[in-house]
C-alpha cells in the first residue's frame, strides 16, 4: 500500500509539471497532436491526383486528340499543351509538369498504313513518387489505345470479333496487388510516418522529464516525493507518460482504421498490446540515453540522431532488405521498425495474433534491454545524489 502511495505522490508531481512547464506540455500534448493533424491534412488524397503533365502534340489528328483525352481522363494526371519541345522542357524543369508526352508527326497516318510510330514520355524521375504514378497511368492509357487500334485492324481484316479480341494479347497477365490493392499512400506512408512522429515525441518527453530534473537540480525533491525510494520515484515518473502515450497511440490507430480506411485487424488486442510495448520501448531507449550521457544537451543530441533517423532506417521507403549489413543491424534495434511491421502484419496482412509473436518479442526485448541497463545506471546516479553533480556541471 505504501508503494502505491509513494508512486501516486510522484505522479501527482508529474501532473503539476505538465500544467506548469510549457516545454513539457508542448512535447507531450501539443506537438504530437499538431504534427499528426498536419500529416492528416497532407494525406487527404490516398494517391496523388491530377498531377500536371505537358503534352506536345505534333500530330493534331483525331487519334492524337483521343490519346490526350484519355490520358486527361485518368484521375492521376491533368494534361496541358505546350507548343514545342523547348516549352515542354522548361515546364518540366520549372516544376509546372512532372512529365512531357510527345506525340510524333504523322502518327495517325502511319498507324493507318500499318506502321508503329513511337510516342515518347519524358518523366522527371528525380521526383520519384509522382514519376511512378504518372508512368503507371500513361502506360495504361497507351496499352488501352494500342489494343483498340489492334482490334480495329484485325476486324477490318475480316477476323471474327471474338477471335480478334482473343488475339489482343498473346499472354495476358492478371496482376494483383497484395495487402494494399489500391496502392493507397495513406496505408503505406501515413501509417508509418505517424508512429515515427510518436516515437520522436515519446522520446523527447521522456528525456526532458527525467533529464530536466537532473539539469534543474530538482532530483532531491523528486526522490523525496517517493520518500527516498529511487525505484518508485522512477516508476512514478515514467508511468504517466507510458499511459498517456499509449492512449494517444491507440487513438491514432482508431483514426487509421476509421478516417484513413486502413483494413481493420481481426482482433485488436495484439495491436493494442504491441502499441503499449512500442511506447515502453521508446521510453526505455530515451531513458538509456539520459542514463549514459552526462548532460541534457548531449542526451537530446543523441536522441535526435537515434529517433530522427528512425524513419530512414526502419526501411519504410527504401527497404531494409536492400540496405548494407550495418544499416540492417541498426534497423533491428529501432522500436519503429517493429511497430511498422506490427501494423503491416496485423492490419494489412491480417495475420492471427501468433503470427506477430516475433515482432512483439522484438519490441519487448528492446524495452527490456535498454530499460534494464538504463534503470541500473540511473538508480546509481540518483542514489548518489545526482542533484549536487548536476548543479556543478551546469555552469557552462
Amino acid at each position: 500500500m505504501d508503494a502505491v502511495k509513494r508512486v501516486s505522490k510522484v505522479m501527482v508531481r508529474e501532473w503539476h509539471a505538465l500544467v506548469s512547464d510549457r516545454l513539457f506540455r508542448l512535447l507531450a500534448v501539443v506537438f504530437p497532436l499538431a504534427v499528426v493533424a498536419l500529416f492528416t491534412a497532407m494525406f487527404q488524397q490516398g494517391s496523388p491526383e491530377n498531377l500536371p503533365v505537358a503534352v506536345c502534340d505534333m500530330d493534331r489528328t483525331a487519334l492524337s486528340r483521343s490519346i490526350i483525352r484519355m490520358a486527361d481522363a485518368s484521375s492521376s494526371m491533368a494534361l496541358f499543351s505546350v507548343e514545342d519541345l523547348g516549352e515542354g522542357r522548361r515546364a518540366v524543369l520549372s516544376g509546372r509538369a512532372y512529365g512531357l508526352l510527345v506525340l510524333p508527326e504523322r502518327m495517325e497516318r502511319e498507324v493507318l498504313a500499318g506502321g508503329a510510330p513511337a510516342s515518347r514520355f519524358y518523366i522527371n524521375n528525380q521526383i520519384m513518387l509522382p514519376a511512378g504514378v504518372i508512368k503507371r497511368a500513361m502506360l495504361k492509357v497507351f496499352s488501352g489505345v494500342s489494343a483498340g487500334v489492334k482490334l480495329k485492324v484485325n476486324l477490318a481484316k475480316g477476323m471474327p470479333e471474338a477471335r480478334a479480341r482473343e488475339r489482343l494479347a498473346g499472354i495476358q497477365v492478371a496482376s494483383r496487388i497484395l495487402y494494399n490493392p489500391n496502392l493507397d499512400y495513406r496505408w503505406y506512408l501515413y501509417a508509418s510516418i505517424c508512429p515515427f512522429l510518436m516515437k520522436v515525441f515519446i522520446m523527447c518527453a521522456t528525456v526532458w522529464s527525467v533529464g530536466g530534473e537532473m539539469k534543474g537540480g530538482t532530483v532531491h525533491e523528486w526522490v523525496s516525493a517517493a520518500e527516498g525510494r529511487v525505484h518508485l520515484a522512477l516508476f512514478g515518473k515514467l508511468l504517466p507518460l507510458t499511459i498517456w502515450f499509449t492512449l494517444v497511440c491507440w487513438a491514432m490507430l482508431a483514426f487509421f482504421f476509421g478516417a484513413m480506411e486502413l483494413p481493420r485487424p481481426h482482433g485488436v488486442v495484439t495491436l493494442m498490446g504491441g502499441t503499449f510495448l512500442f511506447v515502453a520501448a521508446c521510453q526505455a531507449a530515451a531513458l538509456f540515453l539520459v542514463a549514459y550521457t552526462g548532460e541534457l544537451a548531449k542526451a537530446v543530441s543523441m536522441m535526435s540522431l537515434y529517433a530522427g533517423s528512425a524513419f530512414v532506417f526502419a526501411g519504410v521507403t527504401f527497404p531494409a532488405a536492400a540496405m548494407p549489413l550495418a544499416a540492417r543491424i541498426w534497423h533491428v534495434t529501432l522500436p519503429l521498425t517493429h511497430m511498422v511491421r506490427l501494423i503491416n502484419e496485423q492490419a494489412l496482412k491480417g495475420l492471427p495474433p501468433e503470427g506477430s509473436l516475433g515482432t512483439l518479442g522484438a519490441l519487448a526485448s528492446i524495452g527490456l534491454v535498454c530499460g534494464c541497463f538504463a534503470w541500473v545506471r540511473l538508480f546509481r546516479r540518483l542514489s548518489a545524489g545526482e542533484s549536487v553533480r548536476a548543479a556543478s556541471g551546469d555552469s557552462v
Binding site: 520549372s94 498507324v111 499472354i171 495476358q172 536492400a322
Partner: protein
Amino acid sequence: MSWFRLIAEELTLVLGDSATRLLLLGSVVLYAFFYPYPYSPEVQTHVPVAVVDLDHSSLSRQLIRMAGAGDRVRVARRTATLAEAKALCKAGEVQGILLVPEGFQGKALKGTKAEVAVWSEALSFFTYRQVATGLLTVARTLSAGIEIKRLRAAGLGEEAAFAAMDPLPLQIVQVFNPAGGYGTYVVPLVFALILQQTLLMGVGMVAGARAEAGDSSWFSAGPGLFGAVSMVTAKLAAYLLLYSIHALAYFGVLHRFYDFVERGAVFEMALMMALFLTAVILFALTLSVLFPHRETSLFVLIGTSMPAIFLSGISWPVEALPSWLRAVSFLIPSTAGIDGFLRISTMGAGLGDVAGDVKVLVGLALVYFITATWVFYKKGRA
C-alpha cells in the same frame, strides 16, 4: 566594437562550446555519411518470389527461367499450390508470386487467351515496383516473342510484325535519374534539409545557452537600432561563412564522392544556396528568442524535419496538399529553397526556371531580416 570582430566572436562562441560545436560542425559531418549509407545500393535487386507451375510445360519452364534471369526478382521458392505460396508471402519469406495455370502452353501456342497470374506485395512500394515490373516484363517479353513468331509465320515482315503487335508503342524516358536510384533522389534532398535543420537548432542552442547564462549582450552590439542591425548582419555573415563551407562540402565534394550528377551551373547553384542559407539564418535568428535554455531548440525543432521534407514538394507532390497548407509552407525557407536548389543542381534548371522560388526566398530574407532586427532590438534593450 568593429563589425568584423563581432563575426569572429560569434564563430569563437559557436566552435568553442562542445555542444554547439557538435551540432553545427560535428553532426553536419556525421550526417554526410550516416544518412546516405543505407541508400548506398541505390536499388533493390533480386527480390525473392515464389513460383507455382501448374502447367509443367517447356513454355512454363522457359517463363520461370526468364523470371529468374533478370536482376529485379529471383525465384526463391517453388510451391505446388497457390495457398502455399500465399502462406510464404504472409510469413514474409517472399514478396511476390508467379502462377502459371494448367493448359498455359497449349493456349499460348494456339493463340487463344493464355493467362498467367502475378501477385506483388505492396507493403513497400519500392519493392512492389521491382516485383510487379520484373514479372510483368518477363510475361510480356515471352508473349511478344510468341506473337511475333506467329505474325511472321502468317507472312508479315519483321517490322510489320512488330507494328502489328503493338501499333502504338510508348517509349518511357526517365530523365535526371534514369536508373531510378533511391539515393540519387533522396540524398541531395536530405543534405539540403540538414543544412536548414542544424542551423535552426544550432543558432537556437547558442541563443539558449546565452539566455540561460543571463547574458543579453549576445543580442546587442550597441545602443539602438544600429546596434541590432550590426549584430544581425554580423551573425548572418558568421553563419553564412560557416555554412558556405558545409554547402560546398555537401554539394561540391560529397556529390562527387557519391557519384551524383551535378547538372547546374556553378554560379547559379552558389547564388541559390547563398539565398537559401541567408533566409534560413535570418529565420533562425528570429526564432532564437524563443529558446530560454540550450536544449530547448532541439526539443522544439526535432519534429519539424519530416514535415519540412514533405512540404518541399520533392517527395510528396504539392498538388496533393490543401491550398492553405501550400501557402503556409512557404514561410519555411526549405520549401522554396530545396525545390529551387535541387532543380538547379540535380536537374540543370536555370535561375529563370526557378524564378518563383527565387522571389519567395528574397521575400523571406527581407521579412526575416526585419523580424530578426526587431527581435534583437527589443532583446538588446531589455
